[in-house]
């Protein structure tokens, strides 16, 4: 194979993998390539995609955030209770985003200033804020949130489901920040070599803290979407979502050691997971096998990535 072709194949391997997956599924079942199903897939993917975009920021710096599922739950629950007591949707959204950012700030400060490993810090906050959610909700879902709030999760704008619109906006912003701004450049530098970055006059602690704030805010946004879609805030919401988000980032070709990758890859990664879930459901694969297949796909992606290093 000539080199140029090989290079472009490698560059787009996530995308190629995604397209092959789509082709295989559409051959197996005609129900895959239908407008309602595609809309459904995209809406489902949004929840993970928004978290995964936030997660990309963290992973690009060489960190990890395990607390996103708990952030999603706690901000969803608070948003729900505000809607129930005041009926003010905007207030609910703002407070939820603020909570997500705050938890992110706690993570970020402990990791950057406290110099504790990201895995440990976010493992702890994951547990703490899951507990906080149980305490806050008394262990029962908060439901009966009214018609106007359910619009966010269930209606469309210009034919696009609103969660998908949110995802596109978040993606656009993230892409701009990472590829066009000073902050983005610093973030890659920090992920590539923290000492070099600091000795180049970059305030690395600030950058590091900010990525967790961004990740927290993204998880909270996702919490709002989930709560609106289901019409209730469950204290169990978002359990295990951190793993889906990390999977999406990894499938998108971002290195867990930081410094390399892009949010474009992350979106494709999220789509791969979403389409795989949907396809396996459509052809009635048992959930037990689904887990096995998903794990194998992730392994395969990482092996392909490694081989071409």
């Amino acid at each position: 194979m000539n080199n140029k072709l090989k290079n472009s194949l490698l560059k787009y391997k996530s995308l190629i993998g995604f397209l092959i997956l789509c082709m295989v599924i559409s051959v197996i079942t005609p129900r895959f390539l239908t407008i309602p199903n595609i809309k459904n897939v995209f809406t489902q993917v949004s929840v993970n995609a928004v978290i995964a975009i936030g997660m990309s920021f963290v992973i690009l710096t060489g960190g990890i955030d395990l607390s996103v599922g708990s952030i999603l739950a706690v901000s969803g629950a608070v948003a729900a209770s505000i809607i129930k007591s005041t009926g003010n949707i905007y207030l609910a959204i703002i407070v939820a985003l603020a909570i997500g950012s705050m938890v992110g700030l706690i993570n970020g400060v402990l990791i950057s200033k406290g110099k504790i490993q990201a895995f440990i810090v976010t493992l702890a906050t994951m547990t703490i804020f899951r507990g906080v959610t149980y305490v806050y909700t008394n262990g029962t879902p908060i439901s009966g949130l009214g018609e106007s709030f359910s619009v966010i999760g269930n209606k469309t704008v210009l034919g696009l489901p609103i969660p998908v619109v949110f995802t596109i906006i978040v993606f656009g912003l993230a892409y701009y920040i990472l590829s066009q701004t000073r902050y983005g450049r610093y973030l890659y530098a920090l992920g590539g070599n923290e000492d070099s970055a600091r000795l180049s006059g970059i305030n690395t602690n600030k950058i590091k803290t900010l990525v967790y704030v961004i990740c927290g805010a993204a998880a909270a946004l996702s919490g709002i979407i989930v709560t609106s879609r289901i019409g209730s805030a469950s204290p169990n919401a978002g359990v295990g979502f951190e793993l889906d988000a990390i999977s999406a980032v990894v499938l998108g070709g971002t290195s867990l050691s930081g410094g390399e990758g892009s949010v474009v890859g992350t979106i494709i990664g999220a789509l791969i997971i979403g389409v795989l879930n949907n396809g396996l459901n459509l052809v009635n694969v048992s959930p037990f096998y689904q887990a096995i297949i998903k794990g194998l796909v992730i392994l395969l992606a990482v092996i392909v990535e490694k081989k071409n290093k």
Binding site: Q180, Y183, Y188, A189, G201
Partner: protein, 501 residues
């Protein structure tokens, strides 16, 4: 010499790394029962050649012939099979394992059925191997409890355990004391008498004349020549190695001396930097000499704000500045080029352009917080030309550049900021001769522009060759000051070891 046929021949070996020809048509012959010195400056290709021989790299062309037949060495295991062992500068022993476990690591051998290793046998063999090289020690001792010299002997025993015929030693005495060095030489002599072939990499002239039979000289990746030690003088050897006279290598030019730009008063950092006071003037290169660990780098990093000073004051252009981080320092016009290019200078996964503008990105930012990439790449191209950086284009990943070109990119990063004071720490370490000279020229130019340059260097001839004034440090303090005219190796050394007059 008894043997007339070489044990090892390397013929016309060429190795190209992206962006740099590390070896070009290099040949080498080693006989059993002799010590061959492989001599050359940093970046001459010694390590690359030995890495090819020991299977770390694979050659692009050329051949390796052992005992008359050509061999193909594609990995460390292949090299071992052909009796080649390498003892690296950084020893590769496992500190938490005992001596005998280290010696037989990976070669324990085991019972075919029970998969058990024969501990008793291995301990006995280890004892025997160490006795053979005259080292008596309990082989159950953990390696971390040994000193560097002893660890080296363990490495040699390990090589012997693999029935090696050719042992490569890469600057083995760098970290050794005189006693340990002598001990090592005794072992080398013993190995020689057992008909082993030793390839000895070093640039310490005295050692080479003491221990080696023949010398192969490399320069800039090329084979320069091969001589018998007894047939050559040190001076001739140096000119083979350097290829040019000292004056040509260090292009010194005087600039009109200006005012003091940086003033440091009683600066201290923990116990490593004690009460340092000095001034750096515009239009001069101020050299900092001293032994390893004399606190020069720590002093620089304290000024730069990477380390928090415990006391002292820093003045720039006459007014006191408060520096708490590298960011502060850069804003005040003091930049620092680290001695460790890979760990503290480069972002290896980034392009030449992104590395170069990293400290100066704010300049290219527009209202929408967007980096003006056209403007950025224009400046980068300018500097690539100005410093004659060899790279296919500005988007090339920096890890594919040679050391000298990487260093020039970092230098460009700081020059772009137009600093008042530039502190450079070991600026030419591991860089080829040509690039070295180009870097000196850049420093001269900066000096002429009225910058104050502070150069920390362990390379004595570099300090003598390029600096206007020299400060010598000893155990965290300044132990002496010398003008360019009065400075000599002997005087610097005297101050460096702490002899006061």
């Amino acid at each position: 010499m008894i043997n007339t046929k070489p044990l090892l021949q390397m013929k016309n070996v060429t190795k190209i790394f992206p962006g740099v020809k590390a070896l070009e048509d290099v040949s080498l012959e080693a006989y059993s029962g002799e010590v061959l010195a492989l001599l050359g400056e940093n970046g001459a290709g010694k390590s690359t050649l030995m890495n090819i021989l020991s299977g770390v790299y694979y050659k692009d062309s050329g051949s390796i012939i052992i005992e008359g037949s050509e061999v193909d060495i594609r990995g460390i295991k292949d090299a071992e099979k052909h009796g080649i062992a390498i003892i690296h500068q950084e020893l590769s022993l496992l500190p938490n394992l005992s001596i005998w476990k280290n010696i037989f690591l990976g070669n324990e051998g085991f019972n075919g059925i029970t998969r058990r290793i024969n501990k008793k046998d291995l301990i006995e063999k280890s004892k025997k191997l160490l006795e053979d090289i005259g080292f008596n020690i309990d082989v159950d001792t953990l390696v971390k409890d040994l000193n560097v010299g002893e660890k080296q002997l363990i490495e040699i025993a390990k090589a012997l355990s693999k029935k090696s015929k050719i042992i490569i030693m890469d600057e083995p005495t760098t970290a050794l004391t005189d006693v340990e060095t002598n001990n090592l030489f005794k072992v080398i002599t013993k190995l020689k008498s057992q008909n082993m072939s030793i390839v000895y990499i070093s640039h310490r002239m005295d050692e080479i004349f003491q221990i080696c039979d023949r010398i192969t000289v490399l320069r800039d990746g090329k084979y320069i020549g091969e001589v018998k030690t007894k047939d050559i003088t040190k001076d001739d050897l140096i000119s083979m190695m350097v290829g040019r006279k000292l004056e040509e290598q260090y292009p010194y030019r005087k600039s009109p001396e200006g005012q003091s730009i940086l003033k440091v008063e009683n600066l201290s950092f923990s116990k490593k930097v004690c009460n340092i006071s000095f001034e750096a003037k515009s239009g001069e290169i101020l050299g900092f000499s001293g032994l390893m660990g004399s606190g020069r780098t720590e002093m620089a990093k304290t000024i730069f704000g990477e380390y928090k000073k415990s006391s002292g004051k820093i003045f720039v252009d006459g007014s006191e500045v408060n520096i708490c981080s590298p960011k502060d320092s850069i804003e005040k016009g003091i930049c620092y080029l680290s001695e460790d290019r890979k760990k503290e200078g480069l972002i290896l996964g980034m392009s030449v352009a992104n590395n170069m503008t990293l400290a100066n990105l704010k300049k290219y930012e527009n209202g929408a917080k967007r980096i003006n990439k056209t403007e950025e790449s224009k400046t980068v191209k300018e500097y690539i030309k100005k410093l004659s950086i060899k790279t296919p284009n500005s988007e090339q990943l920096i890890k594919h550049l040679s050391g000298g070109n990487q260093q020039k990119v970092i230098l460009a990063k700081w020059i772009m900021l137009a600093p008042k004071v530039l502190i450079i720490d070991e600026p030419t370490r591991g860089i080829d001769v040509g690039a070295k000279k180009e870097i000196y020229e850049v420093l001269n130019e900066l000096k002429a522009m009225g910058k104050a340059i502070i150069m920390i260097s362990s390379d004595m001839s570099e300090i003598l060759g390029i600096c206007d004034r020299i400060l010598v440090m000893h155990e965290g303090e300044i132990s002496g000051e010398l003008s360019r005219e009065e400075a000599s190796q002997e005087l610097i050394m005297k101050y460096a070891v702490g002899i006061k007059d």
